[in-house]
Amino acid sequence: MTAGAQAPSALEAELIRLVGEVPDPELPVISLAELGVLRGLEVLGPGRVRVELTPTWTACPALDTMAADITEVLTSHGMTEVAVDTVLAPAWSTDAITAEGRRKLAEAGVAPPRPKASGAAGAAGGPVALELAIRCPNCGSTDTRLLSRFSSTACKALRRCASCGEPFDHFKEV
């Protein structure tokens, strides 16, 4: 399933499904497939498999846990040699989070990332996109304000809802 390779075999498709169902260690409501961090899976030989994983943020400490969880799932399904490689390019973007993933994030009280305008946040040296309203995951109000660009994990910002008064995390756009 690596870029440019042939269509996955039946075994590969099955393993991709299993690995995709692994929950994110920090936000267990969302799976790795929904987070969009799986880049490829290739069966190299009997019992030998290689998985490509991309970090959400460069220093995401959950990456090691993800790799361990993936290894555990694959070994419990008969794989004896599992390699989980980290790939940086092309860089992961919050646009890789699926619609279902966004819905689950909101349901868990984390405002999902907004779709990125082209050229926003960095790549073209442009400003961080902060213009679109972010909806409070508790009451649905769009009257929310930024408390801090940095929150409990690297990928989130801290906001407060002006309507219901609740602070909440926002999965910030990259």
Binding site: W57, T58, L88, G122, A123, L147
Partner: protein
């Protein structure tokens, strides 16, 4: 891979400095913000240093003169204005550098393309605080001006050519000056006018020449690993 070593050392050393704010920042949100920025930098450092050797050996077992970070990264954290001024100077530089590096298609390009988006948040954070302190009270303005003036002489070093980088660093200098001047202007601060290099610094950090404070930083960073080789938790 001299370039990866130099940029990795910048990120590692500044991450260590920012970590000193943990539990000590003016407000809780800043504790979290500065350590988040430190974590981002540490991620960059790990990727960059791993391209040139074993990351742990490089971080914990090298001597002072073997580090290639700029002196700006190693200076003590000072007060919150000093830290804000350094973050402004450094993040504007890093954002320009990574954007250019991402376009080179070289070995460092994937990391640069990934990190430039994260650094945009660091720069935005530094900019907001520069505006708030510069255009704040008389006292915050005075201290912010003192901080940008005091660190100015360490900024020239950022734009020394780096072998093998594939980016024209001196060419980025005027753009950097323009962007920094824009923020300082909006913050009602005066752009420092003095020299942007210390007279006695020779090739400075990129040549392994460091300030006195750097030895103490390394002592703290390396102590545990040297006392208990291979320790983990």
């Amino acid at each position: 891979m001299a370039a990866a070593r130099a940029l990795g050392d910048d990120a590692l050393v500044l991450a260590q400095r920012l970590g000193e704010w943990a539990g000590d920042a003016p407000v809780l949100e800043e504790d979290v913000a500065l350590t988040n920025i430190a974590l981002d930098l540490l991620g960059q450092a790990r990727t960059l240093l791993s391209l040139t050797g074993d990351e742990d050996e490089l971080a914990f077992l090298r001597e002072e003169h073997e580090f290639r970070n700029v002196q700006l990264a190693e200076l003590p954290i000072g007060d919150f204005a000093d830290t804000t001024a350094r973050q402004l100077y450094f993040s504007v530089y890093q954002e320009l550098l990574y954007a250019a590096l991402a376009d080179t298609g070289g070995a460092l390009a994937p990391l640069a393309a990934k990190a430039v988006v994260e650094v945009a948040y660091h720069r935005d954070h530094a900019e907001q605080w520069t505006l708030r302190l510069g255009d704040g009270t008389e006292e915050s303005h005075r201290r912010m001006q003192r901080a940008v003036d005091g660190l100015w002489r360490y900024t020239g070093e950022l734009f020394e050519p780096l072998d093998g980088l594939g980016v024209d660093l001196p060419g980025l200098h005027p753009v950097w000056r323009e962007r920094v001047a824009d923020v300082l202007g909006r913050a009602t601060l005066t752009v420092p006018g003095g020299p942007d290099r210390t007279p006695w610094a020779a090739g400075a950090g990129r040549q392994g020449v460091h300030t006195e404070a750097f030895g103490r930083l390394l002592a703290e960073m390396q102590y545990l690993h040297r006392a208990h080789p291979g320790a983990s938790w």
